[in-house]
Each structure stands twice: as C-alpha cells, then as structure tokens.
Homo-oligomer: 333 residues x 2
DNA sequence: TTGTATGCGTTATCAC
DNA sequence: GTGATAACGCATACAA
C-alpha cells in the first residue's frame, strides 16, 4: 500500500507503473482505469488491484491533453455589475458547481458576460480547457450569440433556447400557488413587484401572475423593480400611490419583499394586517425577519448540481428541466 | 486576423504556427508568450504580433502537463455539515476565487474536509492537478495535518500557522470598535453571543471582547452559539436569564444578531431601547431588517481575491494579512 | 539571445 | 480482447 501516490524514490506513480505491475500494456491499463473500452473481467481485476495497491491517481492534465475534453466548467453570468442583492444567487451556483467538480478533478471559473452579446462566448468555444459552459441570468441576445461549436456542452440555468437546454425553478408554478394562497386568504387587490425587465426569467413569473389573476377575475397590477432594497422600496411606494387599496404584494424575490416591507412600514401600513407580502427564494434569513416572510423555495443548489452533472457526464438532456418550488407559509401573508 | 483561434482547415493554432509565422523556434516563441525567459525586444515584438494576428491562445492542458503547475485551486472548507447560515460565506469565497481564476484559464473546486484531520489533504498534496489550496474555517487539528509538500502553495482564510499564511478580517479590531461604540452610547452591561467554540476564528473576537471589557472595568459575559437562528435565540435567552440587566448584546455574526433580536422580541424587550444589538458581516439584508442592524463589515470577497491572487502568482506572503472591518452604524445599537 | 532535443502522462488508432 | 505507437501542445535543460 502506497498512500502517497509516489514511489520510494519520490517518482510519481504513472499508468506505466500500473500496467507493469498488472502485467498488461499501458493501453489496456488505460482502458480499465478510464472505465470505457473492452477488457476481460480477469485483467480488469488485475489492473484495478494494481492501481489500488500502488495508490495510482490519473494525471488530469495529461488526460485533458490527450482527449481534449477540457478541465474546467465555466459559469458565464450575464450582467453589467454584480447586483449586490442577487450576488448570493450566482455564488450559490458556483459553490454547487465547484462541489460537483471536485471528485472529477476539474474546476470551475466564473466569467461575467457583458450584457451585449459578447465575443467572449466565441473565446470560450475555442478554448480547449473549457469542458462545458453554464449560462446564468442569460438574455435572448446572449442566447442568440451562442456559437454552434458549444452545442452539447452548454446549458442555461434560467431560460434556454433550441440549442441550449434549460435548468430552472418552476417559478410559474410557485407564482400561481402564491396567488392562490393569497386569494384563499381573502385578498382581492393583489399587486406584483417584479424583477428587472431585461431578465427574461422575470417574465415567466409575471405571465403566471397575470394568468392567475385573470382566472380569478381580478385586475393585474405590476410594477418592475431590480434586486436592490432601494429599488424595491420605491416600487412598493409606487404601487401604493397608484392603487391605494392594495391588500397584497407578491414580490419576485425575498430581497424585494423585504425592501417593500420597509416601505410599507414607513407608510404605517401593517404587514400582514393591511397588506400581505410574499417573497420568493426562501433565503436563510426569510424566517428571521419580522414578520417572518411567507415565500416559496428556490432550490438553486440542486438546480446547479443537476446542470453541472449533466455537463460533466455529457448526458443528453431534455430542452427543459423544471425543479419544483414549495410554498413556505409564515407570518407575512 | 483570425478571431476564432483555428486555421482555415479547422486546425487549431499552436505555438508551432506562431513560431513559424514569426520566423523563430518554438522554444523562443514559448518564452515570449509565457512571459519569462530572455528574448530580444525585436523578436519579442515579432512573436507577439504573430500570436495576435493568428489569434493564438495557449492550451492550458499542455501547459499544465509540461510544467506540472496544476490547473485548479482547491477551496478546502472544514465542517461536518455545511451550516445553513454560514454557507453564504463559503460560497462567497468560491465565487471570488472563481472570478480570479477565470483570466488565468484555471478553475476552482470545493472540497469539504471532515472535521477530524483528513487524509484528504494528503491526496490534494499529491494531486498534480492542484495548483494551490485555500483552507476555510480551519481548525488547529487540520492545520497540524498539512503535509509539508503543500508549503508555499497553501493559505488559510482565517487562522493560519507557521507554514500556512493567514488572510483574515481584523475581527479583533471590529469587536473593540463595537464595544467602544456601545460604551460611548452609555451601555454598561454588555454581553456577547459568540460563534461555535470549535472554530478557532471565534476565539479572537471573544478575546478582543474580554480585553475591551476589562479595559472599561466591566465584567465579561459570554454565551456561545452556532450560526443557526434557533441556536442564536436560545443563546440570547440564556443571556437574559443569567444576566437580566443586560443592556447590550454583541453578536458574532449578523445571523446570530437577527436570531437574538427574534428572541428579545418574544420576551418583549425593545431593541435598541431596552437592549442594543450589534452584528458582524454586514450581509446585504442587514440594512433591511427591523430595526436596521448596526454591524461591522466583513470584506470576504476581497480577502478571498487577495488569497487566491497570492496563490496564483506564487507570491511570497507574510504570515498574516489582515483586512480592515468598518463599523456600520444603523438603528439597532 | 536563440535553437535542439526531449520529457510530461494519457488517450486513441490501428493492427493483431 | 490486447498491444504497439503516434499524437496531444508546451516547457525547459542544454548546447550553440
């Protein structure tokens, strides 16, 4: 047993060593170690045993060079400047992807794509070190700029396209569930503070909201915001000014909801007495605010793991994979 | 100009192409492209021009294989299970490191180290794909288990050791500033809710608190907590039970502070009227809670960028690099 | 300062 | 099913 992965003389254990110890050729050793290709059960066992005994570990660089597969996943996030309040979202994705990468001996890097369709995607497509790309917060414009060479090794967390499979949360479903919850609680003048309009993902929630309101025979009231507290506060104020009788506010994120609550408090409206407020994401602190936020879960980590795994395994994936969101009932609505 | 980085026939541009185009040997081309080594200004210019014209981009795998430097940074976070509330901290670090990695064509992966000194560090030391290691939330035990082969390419975000340089926030300074602020505001019965005792980093804040209290001639009152809301709430309750006259609570994190505020509210204590509460970290939502949290900033991203940059540049670093924390005065204290 | 020759560790394409 | 052998693209002693 040689735990250190290096020989007595400090030399590293290579595939040649394993092959020699197992009494087979390097080619054969490569096949069984890599996992594909043919090999008789007998030799397979011998090679595995030798590898384990010597403490062999494949060299990622040599492997990447030989098969040209690349050794890193790239998270490409669209946006001008990292919006303070949604940075956690991108970080969560990168953290999850980095965890998925670890056992495979590869890594992840984070690129910020300028909003206007970038040659950056071209560069990534031509870079042999790039094993796959995960688009985040992407726009239609970026989606259109995806080079065909990336097909099969690019996915999107959020909206996708014909050539870019999408992994996303079922925000339409959660929005519907929230509106239904509000309606069941007797609210009838339900307004929405949506996410930034340049973000295609925001559109789905708005559409679902409109549909649900229409089904309930209620008028839609929508004001856009971005993810900053300041913006959310003014959006909430705008709602109150335009529709003073509003008795419920469905916010597109917990951050927006908290910003809205601050504004409501300033205007002496009780939450949830005068107006109910709901969020989205279920961030760790949603349960610790006052009042505790009623919201819907957003399994960002699981979505990212799913997407990264598909990329690493070169798995063929359906055009759209939706992850369920769960309604979390607390005190604010 | 060949933006795509591949020849007319689809072949990729290699160093050979550049060398040929510049009329030099591949070795020379390598030197100027890589940036070190000697080269006359004239040839340097020719090579650079050729590289630019052809759209040459070095192949990371080949480079890693040839020089054995590795192509990924590893963030090794200690902990049994990712404590829900502090996950943002690790994610923020990984996100920052991933950003630093991007322009260098390398990546980052995230490994969770079991609390009890792991052979995992040995494996990382022997893995040629690992360019450097960043320890996070590390313990003395882990620090002792660091293999000497990692010397020079391992750093710690948090406490360090003789062989592991430390990059950290000046939590002692911030704790002192907070106690001083409380004292200046007339508070005299100041208690602390500290972080988990297995985390060495927590010790520094506690020590600074004790020192500051001693200097002010006040008695120290400390109750430990972990980073969950539940734990913070019971810790705060414990404080009130043991020292009912407490008029200020300095919490080791914003999450703890918010959990404490929840507990205080349940016991009908007004914040900051009856008891002032301070946090630490200045998370995005600290300003949106009610009351808005007085806290101290924690430049996690900058610290991580600093550490990762040092690793990538193989820069020699001092044993300890402290980043300043700034007092953020809001409403809770 | 520049060029020559070789090594880096693996995978893939063939024959056998 | 297995074994030679040629890529893979670059860096670096060493010689010139």
């Amino acid at each position: 047993m040689n735990r250190s992965g290096s020989g007595r003389d400090g030399r590293r254990i290579t595939l040649d060593d394993v092959a020699r110890a197992a009494g087979v050729s390097r080619a054969t050793a490569s096949r069984v170690v890599a996992g594909y290709g043919h090999a008789s059960p007998a030799t397979r066992a011998r090679v595995d045993a030798a590898a384990a005994r010597l403490g062999y570990a494949p060299d990622g660089a040599a492997r990447a060079l030989a098969n040209g597969a690349g050794f890193r996943l790239v998270v490409a996030a669209t946006g001008m400047t990292p919006d303070e309040l949604e940075e956690w979202y991108v970080d969560r994705i990168v953290g999850s992807v980095a965890t998925v990468c670890a056992p495979h001996g590869i890594g992840v890097s984070l690129h910020w794509l300028p909003l206007h369709a970038p040659g950056e995607l071209r560069r990534l497509a031509d870079d042999r070190s790039v094993r796959g790309v995960l688009l985040v917060n992407t726009t239609e414009q970026v989606l259109r700029a995806v080079p065909s060479e990336l097909t099969g090794r690019i996915v999107s967390i959020g909206v996708g396209s014909r050539t870019v499979p999408s992994f996303d949360v079922d925000s339409a479903g959660s929005t519907t569930a929230i509106v239904d919850h509000l309606y069941a609680a007797g609210r009838r003048r339900i307004a929405m503070v949506s996410g930034p309009s340049w973000l295609p993902g925001a559109g789905r929630s708005v559409a679902a909201y409109r549909t649900a309101m229409l089904a309930a025979g209620l008028p839609a009231r929508v004001v856009p915001s971005d993810f900053t507290a300041a913006s959310a506060s003014v959006a909430a104020s705008t709602v109150l000014r335009r529709w003073p009788d509003t008795d419920a506010l469905v916010a597109s994120s917990d951050a927006i909801a908290l910003g809205a609550i601050t504004a409501l408090r300033r205007q002496a409206r009780d939450v949830p007495g005068d107006v109910a407020v709901t969020g989205f994401d279920d961030i760790p602190l949603a349960g610790m605010s006052h009042p505790a936020l009623t919201t819907a879960s957003h399994p960002v980590g699981r979505i990212a793991v799913d997407a990264a795994t598909a990329l690493i395994e070169r798995r063929r994936v359906p055009p759209t994979t939706l992850h369920a969101s769960e309604l979390i009932r607390r005190d604010s609505a």
